[in-house]
């Protein structure tokens, strides 16, 4: 840890002044009193509460619907930083998609020995029920949220891929709405790429993968587990923004391999389902015979090619922790080039040399269970006690294949409004990548999560994390003064005489 973290606005701590491109933001922070920032931040949070942008905390009473704290200081990506990052994201998502096509089809990557076969076929995330099914247009990972961390100007690392049902995009949109309303002066200083076209992009993506024969206007729906789900606000927000029906499993019925929704005027055929429910609860006939949830026959309709499911069932194999460390090989295998976005260096303890290294450096490393989640079964070497380290040593020796190890990273910080004023806090980032029949696109923005406690690296909303708006500057953006042709209008930055 020791070394100072890279601050995305101020640069490195031992140099004076902000990064030159962001001097204006720094000046804005200096000139706007903390009380004023705090007032605006509160106003945003009041709006979020009124809109009901809440998440339920499981295990607490129904009354405890919370909002995620919003931080008023934006995080900014320069145009060229973003361009390089986007290339890496597109390459990675294309590889994820090619990987899914392959492992549920020919399995070339196993036949050629790039990955050990048991890693895939013996993995609980691999769904043999899905093997052989080809989704419409061969697209599997329609919506990916790639979690990134940063350690320097161009040092981005993938922390985790989310190829199942990534959430958080409503925060990207609502945070931007709040920023435009509360800090319009920032949009005069910076030419920020608009994110409000996301619902349109998503709907286009959905329509593009509709099964052949759906006609001119495929019927798209969003499938939610229901209003008790913690992400229900996002589900209803997205369905509403796209103007599509928000359905629950009980609203759908499968007849003769066709999917219908039950309406007051009878059954209406459904062509594309953006599902926000897990594979396990899609179709009780296939995944969980004991479950009463889901739509019986849905997978048969999908296999028959009569409905598109977004994201495709079975995607869990692509974002599994056990697969993560092989992503550089996977990207190389399908793209023919080196991965533009590196992963965090990872030692697979199943390999004897790696295990030896890990055992020698337990006090420096983070050791994780491959099949653990939410911080369970994790050793953070630098802060662990002697006893904990020894316990992990024993566990590692007993079952090395269950563990991986990574170095601790000096995560970047962004100035954040805290009680004492504005101070650096660690952040991570989740950009959203859409893949349709016509290719892959990255939304110019994303979800920045910030650890509000000093020094903390934990950005989870359940543990005191907050969110920030993420500005992506447009190419050739003037940052020192407002360009004469630029004005802000509503949520869009428009260049007169041309499309912004």
């Amino acid at each position: 840890m020791g070394t100072a973290a890279f601050d995305e606005i101020m640069g490195v701590a031992d140099r004076d002044g902000a990064r030159p491109e962001l001097a204006d933001l720094c000046r804005w922070l200096d000139e706007t009193p903390s009380d004023e920032l705090r007032r605006r931040q509160r106003s945003a949070e009041v709006t979020f509460r009124q809109l009901g942008i809440t998440f339920a905390v499981y295990g607490e009473s129904e009354a405890s619907e919370r909002i995620i704290p919003f931080d008023i200081v934006p995080r900014v990506f320069l145009a060229d930083e973003w361009a390089r990052l986007s290339e890496g994201l597109v390459q990675r998502v294309e590889a994820i998609n090619a990987f899914l096509v392959d492992v549920y089809g020919e399995r070339r990557i196993l036949k050629e020995g790039v990955l050990p076969a048991d890693l895939i076929l013996g993995n609980p995330q691999f769904r043999p029920e899905i093997a052989g099914i080809r989704p419409p247009h061969d697209v599997w990972a329609h919506i990916c949220g790639i979690d990134l961390v940063r350690t320097g100007p161009d040092q981005f690392f993938v922390l985790e891929d989310n190829a199942r049902t990534p959430s958080g995009v409503s925060y990207m949109l609502e945070n931007r709405e709040a920023m435009v309303r509360l800090c319009p002066e920032l949009f005069a200083k910076f030419r920020v790429a608009a994110v409000d076209s996301y619902p349109d992009m998503l709907l286009e993506t959905m329509k593009s993968v509709a099964p052949r024969g759906s006609g001119q206007h495929p019927n798209c729906v969003l499938l939610t587990p229901g209003h008790y789900n913690s992400a229900y606000y996002e589900h209803s927000f997205l369905a509403d923004s796209m103007g599509i029906e928000l359905v629950e499993a009980a609203d759908l019925v499968v007849d003769d391999d066709l999917v219908y929704m039950r309406t007051i005027a009878g059954r209406v055929k459904v062509d594309v389902i953006y599902r926000r429910v897990d594979d396990d609860f899609l179709d009780p006939l296939v995944f969980r015979p004991e479950s009463l949830l889901g739509v019986p026959g849905l997978i048969a309709a999908y296999a028959a090619g009569n409905v598109a499911i977004i994201n495709a069932p079975g995607n869990g194999i692509a974002d599994d922790k056990a697969i993560y460390s092989y992503m550089p090989e996977i990207v190389r295998f399908y793209s023919g080039g080196e991965a533009k976005l590196p992963i965090v260096e990872t030692w697979r303890c199943r390999e004897p040399a790696a295990l030896r290294y890990v055992l020698d450096h337990l006090d420096e490393l983070v050791v994780k269970l491959v099949d653990g989640s939410g911080g369970y079964g994790m050793l953070v070497g630098p802060t662990a006690s002697k006893g904990e380290i020894e316990r992990f040593r024993t566990a590692l020796l007993a079952e090395p294949h269950r563990y991986i190890a990574q170095p601790t990273l000096a995560l970047s910080t962004v100035p954040t409004l805290v009680e004492q004023g504005v101070a650096p806090r660690h952040v991570d980032f989740r950009p959203f990548v859409l893949s349709g029949a016509r290719g892959v696109q990255v939304v110019p923005g994303g979800l920045t999560r910030v650890a509000l406690r000093e020094g903390s690296l934990v950005v989870n909303s359940s543990q005191g994390g907050g969110t920030k708006d993420s500005f992506v500057l447009m190419p050739g953006a003037p940052t020192m003064s407002q360009s004469p042709g630029t004005q802000t209008l509503g949520g869009m930055t428009q260049t007169l005489g041309g499309q912004g």
Binding site: G52, H227, D240, D251, M261, R262, T263, I264, G266
Partner: protein
């Protein structure tokens, strides 16, 4: 529109209306109780339970017939499905399930009513009871106003349909129970009655002033019955509520192209009520008439569910 969405909107309308009705009932009963010269409060509260058909449920929880206990049972008993607390909770659940179909105002009114019960309701003395009842009424009024300002589409029509069906039931019940309670056997209709008790009925449906406007000859049971049964000018009358049911169904038929049994039943019923003379009803037997209204309304409820495929 999804059948589930339609069902949620319909039930949202029913539960908001029911919460509002119970609030009015408690308010009027409280007034009656306070006004009683005899220690007759017990009768007042027993009749409130009778109107909501909850005497057995109240007895089952071992409640005593006191103001505080009945008021708590009707207002804030989490274990009683007919309490305002539960009605508001059900209304909010349904509203959440169709969150995007509602305007922000409409949602906030429902959420506001729900937040009234967020903290455990402490002692219910007459003042706090009245304050709570007033707040509930304010939120349901806010909801009704908000629905009125929403797009006149299927969403609002299903809410209005639910409200109208619930209102028909509530008014019929109120009249049935009070009439029998207030008119002991042998007492002729139109005889001397307890003025306060009849005022209580009018208060429950917000019709004290309306009565004065429509009838010049003082409080008479036959007039009160006429007002609540057949006067279309009074929004909470059986006549107005059944007419509103027809209007909502007709609107739905126009926008969805779906017409069926429920439309026919509602139209037939409304036409019959328009032809019915209150004096004939009284001489033929008011109780039988009201029981028939309630039963027919329940049949209509089933027909609506069938027609729009609620289940």
């Amino acid at each position: 529109m999804l059948s589930r969405t339609a069902a949620s909107l319909y039930w949202l309308g029913r539960y908001v209306e029911r919460a509002d009705f119970i609030a009015r009932l408690v308010e009027a009963t409280l007034r009656l109780d306070v006004l009683s010269t005899r220690p007759a409060g017990e009768d007042a509260w027993r009749s409130a339970l009778a109107v909501t058909e909850t005497e057995p449920a109240f007895a089952a929880v071992g409640g005593e017939l006191t103001r505080e206990e009945v008021a708590r049972f009707l207002l804030a008993d989490a274990g009683h499905p007919g309490s305002i607390l539960r009605c508001v909770g059900m209304a909010r659940d349904n509203a959440r399930a169709v969150r995007t179909a509602l305007s922000r105002e409409a949602w906030q009114a429902i959420n506001g009513a729900w937040l009234l019960f967020d903290q455990r309701v402490a002692r219910l003395d007459p003042a706090t009871t009245l304050a709570l009842v007033d707040s509930v009424k304010a939120e349901t009024r806010g909801f009704e106003g908000a629905v009125h300002r929403m797009l006149r589409n299927q969403t609002t029509l299903f809410i209005r349909l639910g409200q109208a069906v619930e209102r028909t039931d509530n008014t019929a019940r109120l009249l049935d129970v009070k009439y029998h309670l207030l008119l002991p056997a042998g007492e002729p209709v139109g005889g001397t009655v307890d003025r306060d008790q009849w005022t209580t009925i009018l208060q429950t449906v917000s019709a004290v002033t309306a009565y004065r406007w429509l009838y010049s000859d003082g409080l008479a049971p036959a007039n009160v019955i006429d007002l609540l049964l057949s006067r279309g000018e009074l929004p909470r009358s059986v006549a107005a509520a059944t007419e509103e049911t027809v209007t909502a169904l007709t609107g739905l038929a126009r926008t969805s192209g779906t017409q069926g049994e429920a439309d026919r039943m509602a139209r037939t019923r409304s036409a019959r009520i328009a032809r019915t003379r209150t004096s004939d009803v009284i001489s033929a037997g008011l109780h039988q008439h009201l029981q028939a209204v309630i039963a027919e309304n329940a049949h209509l409820h089933v027909a609506i569910g069938r027609q729009f495929k609620f289940v």
